[in-house]
């Protein structure tokens, strides 16, 4: 599913998006604040949903090849995170909903 459709449904605000981010294909979602777990993932076309608003979240996404990150709970996104997102070609969003609510919405949207 296109990233644009997903972020619209989640009412997430774009913080940084590389050219053509709207068309990034998302097949699975990984929701975690533990980057150790994120680094164990083997999935492709993955969206990362996290409440950990830090540079490590962006790095971890970049490392496992995830092209989109949504920071939950309306947390503040730092300059460093935005710079890193640009450097790593990661689309970065902020959503006011808590992580659980985002997951429920995503489940309905992508549900089997």
């Amino acid at each position: 599913m296109d990233l644009l459709r997903i972020v619209d449904a989640l009412d997430a605000e774009l913080v940084h998006g590389p050219d053509g981010w709207e068309k990034i294909n998302i097949e699975t979602v990984f929701a975690s604040d533990l980057m150790s777990d994120v680094l164990m993932s083997e999935r492709d076309d993955m969206l990362l949903v996290t409440s950990l608003s830090s540079e490590q979240s962006i790095r971890s996404a970049g490392i496992v090849g995830s092209e989109a990150v949504i920071v939950a709970n309306g947390k503040t996104v730092t300059e460093g995170m935005i710079e890193l997102a640009a450097d790593q070609d990661v689309a970065l969003f902020r959503a006011r909903f808590p992580k659980y609510d985002l997951c429920v919405l995503l489940g309905r949207l992508l549900g089997t």
Binding site: M35, S36, S54, Q56, R59, G65, G80
Partner: protein, 309 residues
Amino acid sequence: MSEERAQPLQSSLRVQELIYGLRISEVMTSKVFAVSRNCTMRDVQTIMKNNSITGVPVVDNKRVVGIVTMNDLMNALERGSMEESVIQWMVGEVQTLAEDMPLSFAISAFGKFPFRQFPVVNKKNELTGILTFRNINHALIRELSRQLRDMEQRHEHPPEPNSLTLSKVYQLSRYDFENGGKASSEIKKFLKSRGVPPKVIRRVAVASYELEINLVAHSNGGMLGFDITEDRVKISSHDRGPGIEDIEKAMTQGFSTANEWIRSQGFGAGMGLPNVKRVSDEFAIESAMGMGTMVKSIISLKPEKEHED
């Protein structure tokens, strides 16, 4: 660069960069002069004088039980006790080094202990050599010349512009989470630019990032080296301690010594080392308390190794 503040730790790290990969056994003096318990201080004096050395291990059945240094000899001389047994004057609590340890551990040992030489022992705890600063200097000069020769050769035969060959070392400091990850990002970009398949890049990036995080979260600082050829990526992580008490535990998923702060950074779940092993085709770890930890991860770039994914 900000890291140019000439701190002793930084410079010792640069030394380590030069010699990383060397084992103590390749550098030590194998011809050791040792004495037995029933020798006198006079015997030691003769040995030191005839061979221009400053420390003589005392052995019992090849096991090191003490060491007599120039200092002990001068004390005995001052008291006129040169005919007494070495037992009276030697230092009994000897710090030894294992011959198969990486040389970087020995450099940490020289920084940590006041000794000027370390007896080296094999797996059976038998004396096989002695390591002094002089050995390290020689190893350094040897490595410097070798690297200079390599550089000259590279200058004469520059690698193809799109070659996969790369050799690079990054330094990381304790708790510097801001920079933890830079090396992995750079290497990832390099491999991508050379057309390495994304799944393989991910494995390299995961191994390298986990090791970077380990260096900043758990070590007193260290370095991460990459040695890339057409066939494989070799990642080596060397740190300055504190060392891992129980490697088997550290390799168990979920075991972690991380503090709250590390956890607040999204790490410390006890998955790091097992995850490095998971993505590696070859994996090795060595550690010594107070000296450091060395991890080696090799990831093959040959397509046939990919079927595991």
